[in-house]
């Protein structure tokens, strides 16, 4: 297992299991990144990892505190905990719910932006609240990228719409296209240095 240079953080709520399954099924097998997921769920729904593992060849595990973030792994926030990114490790917290949610998507996204700056892609999927919107803005502000599930394709459109309502610069896509999109975003992104999404000379600005 090698440490991940790139991070994909995914937030979902209502309808999340189906959405995650379809997203994971289309993630390129060789994506040089780790995927970290915060999904709102009932306290005892601990079988999420097993269900998701049917849709991907990547190992899917509930996060443990201080666990290294590994390439080609899906790390899930355990129910009843906030999941945060601490350098190249995962960190948990039992602080109170943030805007009624624990795990909170905003908490995950904000800590990911802090730790991975431009090497993180934030993905907001279906949900019936507005969690993730603030965190996505933070990710883009720190140089990362944003992807939002096309609200027209979402089981509940509130969460993707709230993310887009912030005016954040995000790519909108249906679930099946998000995986390939992550592949393009991350492999077109040289390690260490931030690549310009519009190389000089491609378009004349004068």
């Amino acid at each position: 297992m090698s440490a991940a240079d790139h991070l994909v953080v995914v937030g979902c709520s209502w309808g999340g299991l189906d959405a995650l399954s379809r997203l994971l099924a289309h993630v390129p097998q060789d994506l040089p990144a780790a995927i970290v997921v915060a999904q709102h769920r009932m306290h005892d729904a601990s079988y999420l990892a097993e269900l998701l593992a049917r849709h991907t060849d990547w190992p899917v595990c509930e996060a443990e505190d201080k666990e290294p973030i590994s390439v080609g792994h899906v790390h899930l926030a355990p129910p009843g905990y906030h999941l945060l990114i601490d350098g190249h490790r995962l960190a948990l917290s039992t602080e109170g719910p943030v805007r009624h949610s624990r795990p909170s998507i905003d908490v995950l996204f904000e800590s990911a932006a802090e730790a991975f700056t431009h090497r993180v892609v934030g993905v907001v999927l279906t949900g019936a609240n507005s969690d993730g919107a603030r965190g996505l803005v933070r990710i883009v502000r720190r140089g990362g990228r944003a992807v939002v599930q096309d609200p027209a394709t979402a089981a509940r459109r509130d969460m993707p719409e709230a993310a887009l309502a912030t005016g954040v610069d995000a790519t909108v896509a249906p679930l099946e296209e998000i995986g390939p999109l992550l592949g393009q975003m991350i492999t077109s992104h040289p390690q260490g240095e931030r690549s310009s999404s519009h190389p000089q000379g491609e378009r004349s600005s004068t």
């Binding site: 505190d65 960190a91 109170g96 800590s111």
Partner: protein, 264 residues
């Protein structure tokens, strides 16, 4: 943030320099906005000039959300796997480290009483923060929590009516005072203080998640030193011993509920 933590340490002796950064950043940011301030340096200045502000921050940093019989399966397995080991000892010493407001401590006391072991047990319950210890000694918890705690208690293998343990009072649910007879609530700082006894069990759940790796290792040294041979270490369900320097010193007693037994 480093500067602020350093200043707090020099001025007050409270050492948060080895706390895990992401949670610390969140809590400092929240304190910042509650104080109506804009910058960390503004917060630093107020902390150094107003001890009351430091008290507020100390509460922010040390209160952890907990519940009675949180993670019922832990208490269920404690009954089936740890209690039989404890029966072999004439006198039982348990350290509940990072006890906060005492919900977990009283849960242990109830469990041990039901198993007939409480009379020969002493629970040392420690926390860095005196304010939470004052609260813990009162054994008074919010009435509106009793439904959740009752469900937890029953799921943990409790066989009585949970309401036998408290009376509903005007201020909240007042727990049976005698449950506190064999509990010593005392201030102890895991970051700086030493071991103070030898124990058969150390319970420290969801406390070290707020520490960085090096402080976590220090605390593991402390627990290793404080446990007698074959003593039991209990961590939170999502904490791992694998990433610490003591991984090889324990056998796994229960992998899901993170119970370990000092083997060597």
């Amino acid at each position: 943030m480093d500067l602020l933590l350093e200043a707090v340490y020099r001025h007050y002796g409270f050492d948060f320099r080895q706390y895990a950064r992401p949670s610390l950043r969140r809590r400092l940011t929240r304190r910042l906005s509650l104080e109506g301030l804009q910058t960390l340096s503004g917060l630093q200045e107020r902390l150094l000039h107003e001890p009351e502000c430091m008290e507020r921050l100390l509460l922010d940093l040390s209160i952890n959300v907990t519940a009675m019989f949180r993670d019922p399966s832990f208490f269920r397995v404690f009954r089936t796997k740890v209690v039989p080991l404890l029966r072999t000892y004439p006198f039982i010493r348990i350290w509940n480290a990072g006890c906060s407001t005492g919900e977990e401590t009283y849960s242990l006391a109830i469990l041990l009483r039901e198993e007939g072991l409480y009379d020969r047990t002493r629970i040392y319950a420690t926390d860095i923060n005196e304010a939470v210890l004052v609260q813990a000694r009162q054994a008074l918890f919010p009435l509106e929590k009793m439904k959740e705690y009752t469900e937890n208690y029953l799921a943990s293998g409790g066989s009585r009516a949970f309401s036998e343990y408290y009376v509903a009072a005007y201020e909240g649910a007042q727990f049976d005072r005698s449950l506190g007879d064999n509990i010593v609530f005392a201030r102890h700082n895991l970051a700086t203080d030493r071991s103070f006894n030898e124990f058969q069990v150390v319970v420290c759940r969801n406390v070290m998640i707020y520490f960085d790796m090096s402080l976590q290792n220090r605390v593991h040294d402390l627990f290793y030193e404080s446990l007698q041979r074959l003593g039991v270490l209990a961590l939170g369900p999502k904490e791992s011993i694998a990433f610490t320097s003591h991984a090889d010193h324990y056998d796994v007693l229960d992998p899901q509920n993170k119970l370990f037994r000092k083997a060597r």
